[in-house]
Amino acid sequence: MRAASKKLTVDDVVGRIESGMTLGIGGWGSRRKPMALVRAILRSDLTDLHVVSYAGPDVGLLLAAGKASRVTFAFATLDSIPLEPLFSRARQEGTAQFREWDEGMFQTGLRAAAQRVPFLPMRAGLGSAVLENDPDLRTVKSPYEDGEELVAVPAIPLDVSLVHMNRADSQGNAQYLGPDPYFDDVFCMAAREAYVSTEQIIDTAGLTVDAPLQSLLINRTMVAGVVETPNGAHFTTCTPTYERDEKFQKAYATAAKTPEDWAEFAERFLSGDEDAYQAAVAAFHEEAADV
């Protein structure tokens, strides 16, 4: 007997998400973000999501579209452009609730969820404003002789996680081919259900033909569904399949500065489906090449 395929469409994945859920998004800043799935959420009726992310344009877009009512973050950046403009606007206008943790605490909270423990201790956070701005955080005293009082980083259990990988098979085994796995496996394990979007779904045997065993970051026990979305991390990096689309990211960041320009940008690029988006991006580059 063969295991059933987990292949889905982007809209199938979005159909598995419900308003009010806590949604983890893999990648880091403007790197290997599951943007095709994020764009599909923008088109959906979903609201009131609590988004947990090492934030980049994924979080900026979900905030600007009114999809995220709560965000857990350690930073928000476009990497080559230091600040994420849509995120900054949401913070400054107070249009959502925010929880700001240290980068390491954030990982520790995901690991606690993945390990199914209520918290894990660490030093990060002690003495900083993080503990003041998140009054739910508690410290814990070591039961051993040292008696050290550490931050009890609570688990961040996720309802659904979305990650983007270079390649996967139809069962949910998924592989990164770039230099950094980020925390995508941890996001998957911290979630009740995880969905992998990928540049290419290939035969299982192909995964290790030209890539090391260790690149198989995610195995199928962690994955509920797989969706093939070529150029699906655009405009973030998907090294080595493609690098960040810096020209497009700059256009995004520039448009995000004013509501009028943003409305025009959203109409041009985000009003249709994924195929329409990719076609609009291609047209954007053709125009730029003509100038």
């Binding site: 240290d102 980068e103 030093r123 050290e148 230099p179």
Partner: protein, 253 residues
């Protein structure tokens, strides 16, 4: 050497921060810190471990703006967060949108946290860095808005706040230096407050105090920041920053 520029004084002052670190990972954030750390690796501390800013540990020190060299190791973000910061064999030099007299740093946001007037990066790894490994700061434009009495949102933790948080926070707390375009400072003043270490040529205790939003302690006469050696100037100008990117961050004055 009268043709030494302010940015070159900054580069050697930053390099000197890493001089006695031994075989640890340097994490310079930004342009001048990267130049300074690469300079240190070529001079005072050849054992320093440096990455390309992403996941590769580089054996050599390519010029600024370039990131290719022989790879000597792998350093993805997960290892930085779970195995280097906490392991402690690291010296990070971060930026600071605000830094205060007590050594607290802010990169999160300006104004009240609930609804900031200006959102910045977020606290990033600053809370964890400061209670786990040696931390220094770089400020390219020293002013009363940057060097302040009290930061808005404490991201990097200064000594007094670490002490208030208890021994778990002070055990590995080591805020080492603040280097700015005006001088070099540490937190060896009364009650671990800001203190002059040296002043870049062309500045004085008065001019630096004038440009600051808080008091800076001086222990007697404050020396000038040392001149780069001839060898260091060759390294900076010919090998590490031939495009003179340093001048854009710290213009000559």
């Amino acid at each position: 050497m009268s043709d030494v520029t302010r940015s070159e004084y900054c580069a050697v002052a930053i390099a000197d921060c890493f001089a006695d670190d031994g075989e640890i990972m340097g994490s310079p954030m930004g342009l001048l810190p990267t130049l300074g750390a690469r300079l240190a690796k070529n001079t005072s501390n050849p054992e320093l471990l440096l990455t390309d800013g992403e996941a590769r540990i580089l054996k050599g020190t390519p010029p600024l703006g370039q990131t290719t060299d022989v790879t000597e190791g792998w350093m993805p973000f997960r290892l930085v967060l779970e195995s280097v910061v906490t392991y402690g064999k690291r010296h990070v030099m971060m930026g600071a949108t605000q830094i205060d007299r007590h050594g607290n740093q802010n990169i999160s946001a300006i104004g009240p946290w609930d609804k900031p007037t200006r959102q910045l990066l977020g606290v990033r790894g600053a809370p964890g860095n400061t209670v786990n490994n040696r931390t220094s700061y770089w400020v390219p434009k020293h002013s009363a808005r940057v060097v302040v009495e009290e930061v808005d949102i404490v991201s990097g933790v200064g000594r007094a706040r670490a002490e208030a948080a208890g021994s778990a926070a002070t055990r590995f707390h080591d805020v080492h230096r603040l280097v700015t375009d005006l001088g070099v400072f540490d937190f060896g003043g009364p009650e671990h407050t800001l203190r002059f270490v040296s002043i870049h040529p062309g500045e004085s205790v008065e001019s630096v105090r004038e440009a600051s939003g808080c008091d800076i302690h001086a222990d007697g006469d404050v020396p000038e920041t040392r001149e780069p050696t001839a060898g260091e100037l060759v390294l900076i100008r010919e090998l590490l920053d031939p495009s003179n990117l340093r001048e854009r961050e710290v213009p000559a004055r």
